[in-house]
């Protein structure tokens, strides 16, 4: 896997190698222009004060002398670590249930796990306040503690990150070689032993990815702590205070750089995970098909029902909020809150903008991510280049949306930038959203690709089949479920994203998610909840469509997985 030869040691034809190298170069260029340079443009600001005077490292010095800094760092790490510890085992069990058991309703539970990303982050925040706030229906469960603080943040973040972890882990667990299990069983290994020696190691790459994705998502998210964190300071809200509260971009960039640390660690972990992961599915593999085990399947069903029930409960509370006349004093149900024109002059147009944004993000994002991941993983040429591209693909996860949005203004609105025409249109929204959600999609694609034996390509090469034919005829069909997952992930996230696009939308391109935020700002909580529910209905509809499509595809292209 190191030299300029296709895996398997057979030399490729020069034309192919050249094409693959060219592809990798264009991908790297793309990532440099849309990730590295904009971020560079804002990180440079950390060396300037707010009057654009160069101050060297003064901002860093000021930051280090802030007395509340250690509190923020500690709070951020504690909240992120706690959320990760809760979410990853939960998501692993959930993903295990929907991939490795024969319980009924797996497709339904897979869809239900995605509920949290169907909803703008404001929705769970509203729901949590209505459930556990001082006037909340379940406030007694808090036993006198306040939801406005670390407890609220952790609950909100668990809800928010759960689908991301499930998505990565489902992909990691969905492919397995049945021969390993058969051999282990024949050798007398018990179920626990098989789990510990085959299942866990097989999913190791997915697990490491999930841990870092969850940790990084929590540490950079300001949405949940801003709305429900009360006075509990975390680094992400420190960025918010500097950028939005005080327009001090230099200090905002300094805190933003601190937040990049987990991403660097994630890159190292990813790189280590890479080296160790072997392909789970070789050309000789026999796909694993779970057998019926009434007790285990029942337990799995109970667990999934419980988790999905909690997710639905939070969503249901928000649905209720969108129907209440005036919480909590007048709970008469009304549909008036769905008449958006009364709250927001853009009315329904923002909803259509969001649809366009989501479709474009899904199309462009999926194409770039999947082809990109394939080039990084499979291109025989220039490993250093692949390493650069890989790093650039991991970075976006660690960048708070706000920082990304400002970075795009600084970079694309600069008078000297030849790409300036992108600014102020739908294109900049699409591009920023693709970049914002690049990492998880990339990791999903890589996880799927890693499970395919390189021998598929080696055999094709020896048969003199061009690489791209193998890609189109073998790789894409085999990875189709993952590709669809990525497309849907981009779609639903584009429907809900706020933090970056809030700086980038133009009058004609205001998205619905921003309208939600504006309505909430204006005190129209019910209207905001109603528009947020519209987003949920849309994404849920697209998901349902996806489920049908997956089912058809499963029958047509994934038949090989079954025996």
């Amino acid at each position: 896997m190191t030299t300029a030869a296709l895996p398997g040691g057979r030399p490729v034809r020069w034309g192919e190698a050249g094409m693959l190298a060219a592809g990798l170069v264009s991908l790297t260029l793309l990532l440099v222009v849309f990730v590295v340079l904009p971020l560079g443009a804002i990180l440079v600001r950390s060396l300037y004060d707010r009057n654009d005077a160069f101050v060297g490292l003064a901002n860093f010095a000021a930051f280090l002398q802030t007395p509340a800094l250690t509190v923020s760092v500690w709070n951020s790490v504690a909240v992120s670590a706690l959320t990760t510890t809760i979410v990853v085992p939960l998501a692993f069990a959930y993903a295990f249930a929907i991939t490795r058991t024969a319980m009924p309703g797996k497709g339904l539970f897979k869809a239900l796990a995605q509920i949290p990303i169907l909803a703008p982050s404001l929705l769970p925040a509203i729901a949590l306040v209505y459930l556990f706030g001082n006037k909340g229906v379940l406030r007694d469960l808090m036993m006198g503690h306040s939801i406005y603080g670390p407890i609220g943040i952790v609950i909100g973040e668990v809800f928010y990150t759960f689908p991301h972890a499930v998505m990565i882990l489902t992909v990691a667990l969905s492919t397995a070689d049945a021969r390993l299990y058969e051999a282990a069983e024949a050798l007398g290994a018990g179920r626990l032993r098989r789990f510990l020696t085959i299942t866990l190691p097989g999913a190791r790459y997915g697990l490491i990815s999930a841990v870092f994705v969850v940790f990084t998502l929590v540490i950079t998210d300001f949405g949940v702590p801003k709305v429900i964190g009360g006075s509990f300071n975390v680094l992400a809200t420190d960025v918010y205070k500097q950028v939005v509260g005080q327009q001090n971009f230099g200090m905002g960039a300094v805190v933003g750089m601190v937040l990049l640390v987990p991403a660097v660690l994630a890159f190292v972990a990813d790189w280590i995970g890479q080296k160790r992961q072997m392909a789970l599915l070789s050309a000789r593999s026999v796909p694993y098909a779970p057998r019926r085990r009434p007790a285990g399947d029942g337990l799995a069903l109970l667990f999934c029902a419980l988790v999905a029930g909690l997710l639905l409960g939070i969503l249901g509370m928000a649905g209720f909020a969108s129907l209440a006349t005036f919480w909590p004093y007048d709970l008469t149900p009304t549909l008036a809150n769905y008449d958006f024109a009364q709250f927001d002059s853009a009315g329904w147009s923002s909803y259509w903008n969001s649809l366009r944004l989501s479709v474009w993000t899904a199309v462009v994002g999926t194409a770039v991510v999947f082809v990109g991941a394939w080039l990084i993983e499979r291109s025989p040429a220039a490993r250093p280049l692949a390493a650069v591209a890989r790093m650039a693909a991991i970075v976006p996860l660690a960048v708070p949306g706000m920082v990304l949005g400002l970075a795009y203004i600084f970079f694309f609105n600069a008078p000297w930038n030849p790409l300036g025409w992108l600014y102020h249109g739908m294109a900049i929204l699409v591009l920023s959203t693709v970049v914002h959600f690049y990492t998880v999609s990339h990791l999903t694609a890589v996880t799927a690709l890693k499970q395919l034996d390189r021998e598929f390509e080696a055999v094709s090469a020896s048969l003199k089949v061009p690489v791209w034919t193998t890609f189109l005829r073998v790789t894409v069909p085999l990875c189709l479920p993952a590709i669809l997952d990525i497309a849907i992930y981009f779609f639903v996230n584009a429907m809900t994203t706020v933090s970056a696009v809030v700086f980038l939308y133009a009058p004609a391109t205001k998205p619905a998610s921003v309208a939600v935020l504006n309505m909430d700002d204006a005190g129209e909580v019910a209207g905001a909840a109603a528009m947020a529910m519209m987003i949920v209905y849309t994404s849920a509809g697209v998901r349902a469509l996806h489920a049908v499509l997956s089912w058809v595809l499963q029958r047509r292209t994934q038949a090989w997985r079954a025996r």
Binding site: Y148, P150, S231, G245, Q246, F249, A427
Partner: protein, 344 residues
């Protein structure tokens, strides 16, 4: 494949970009950045366009902090033609960066002097004022037997412990104007010791300025230090709250209009600045705010606290507040930020 991919990618980007280009334009489209409330956008736009045919306003609206950050970030290549309805203190920051085109609107002479930038020609012209106010939930008060506060000093009473919410001045302009008001009226020493004691009663510092009032309106906490505008708005919607202007006077802030330097539509932008300073425009503002820039325009806004103008602190020193902002926020952070656990 790779070539095809690259082409497909490029085509995708090109098409995506094409989406952003709108149809050919007939009227002059004036891009106006604003932090006005949503409900104000439509009537303001309609009135202005009726009086100025051939000009069409395209709003870019967001909260004060986001709009200010966006304007500053676009400094080297401004996209806004004009700003209508942004905090004067934000406009002062922009002015200090040389981003505003000074212009004296035709009827600016008729406005209250405090509402017009002191320079000639002025860089910005005020529209209306909003001020720090106390939102007090009467239903919760009854339940908890809390007396109605009448002054800032009242908020220090021990029975309010854990019942007061206020915006964090580092995140919210409203929070800052309350703090700046206290420091200006009480003086530095007394002001800080007031906030020390207030801090004992505060349950949560929020990031949004209107949120404390909304929390009071929904009974989460009994008392929210916020803005009188949000209070009146929530009350109109049915919230059981009283909007109280503290007896000692309150810190206040203006919404104002300005022209962005380098606009390609200077003519239209000046027409907007002219119109925004007219009596007619002020008669629109007064539907939402009791205190407007025009001395002759008053009206009893529904659910609005009376005598708003009288409770605005005299000689509100915006320049002092701007110059000392960083120091005040640093001191505030040192005193109250490290409070990691909110009190329940």
């Amino acid at each position: 494949m790779t070539l095809r991919t690259a082409l497909a990618g490029a085509a995708g980007i090109a098409i995506a970009a094409g989406l952003g280009l709108s149809a050919a334009q007939a009227a002059t489209k004036l891009t106006v950045y604003t932090a006005l409330e949503n409900e104000q956008l439509a009537p303001y736009k309609k009135s202005f366009e009726a009086d100025n045919p051939g000009i069409e306003i395209e709003w870019v609206r967001d909260s004060t902090g986001v709009v200010t950050a966006k304007l500053l970030a676009e400094k080297d290549n401004p996209r806004a033609d004009a700003i209508w309805g942004l905090a004067a203190s934000s406009l002062m920051i922009l002015d200090a960066q040389g981003m505003l085109h000074p212009y004296a609107p035709k009827e600016a002479g008729a406005l209250k002097p405090a509402f017009v930038d002191g320079k000639t020609p002025p860089a910005w012209v005020g529209m209306d004022a909003w001020m720090a106010a106390i939102c007090f939930n009467t239903v919760e008060a009854e339940k908890r037997k809390l007396p109605k506060p009448a002054s800032w000093a009242d908020l220090l009473k021990p029975e309010y412990k854990g019942q007061v919410v206020m915006p964090n001045p580092a995140s919210s302009g409203t929070g800052f104007l309350a703090v700046s008001g206290w420091l200006q009226t009480m003086g530095s020493d007394k002001g800080w010791s007031y906030m020390d004691r207030l801090n004992d009663n505060v349950a949560v510092y929020t990031h949004s300025g209107s949120k404390p009032c909304r929390m009071a309106a929904s009974g989460e906490y009994a008392i929210g230090i916020s803005i009188e505008y949000t209070g009146a708005q929530q009350k109109t919607k049915g919230a059981p709250i009283d909007v109280i202007l503290a007896a000692e006077g309150a810190g206040w802030e203006m919404e104002a209009t300005a022209i962005v330097k380098g606009t390609k539509n200077l003519d239209a932008a000046q027409k907007l600045a002219d119109w925004a300073a007219t009596r007619k425009a002020n008669e629109l503002y007064v539907n939402f705010y009791q205190v407007t820039a025009h001395p002759g325009v008053t009206k009893d806004t529904p659910n609005y606290p009376k005598n708003a103008e009288a409770s605005m602190i005299k000689n509100n020193d915006f320049a002092w507040a701007a110059a000392n902002r960083d120091a005040i926020l640093a001191e505030w952070g040192k005193r109250y930020n490290a409070k990691s656990e909110p009190k329940s």
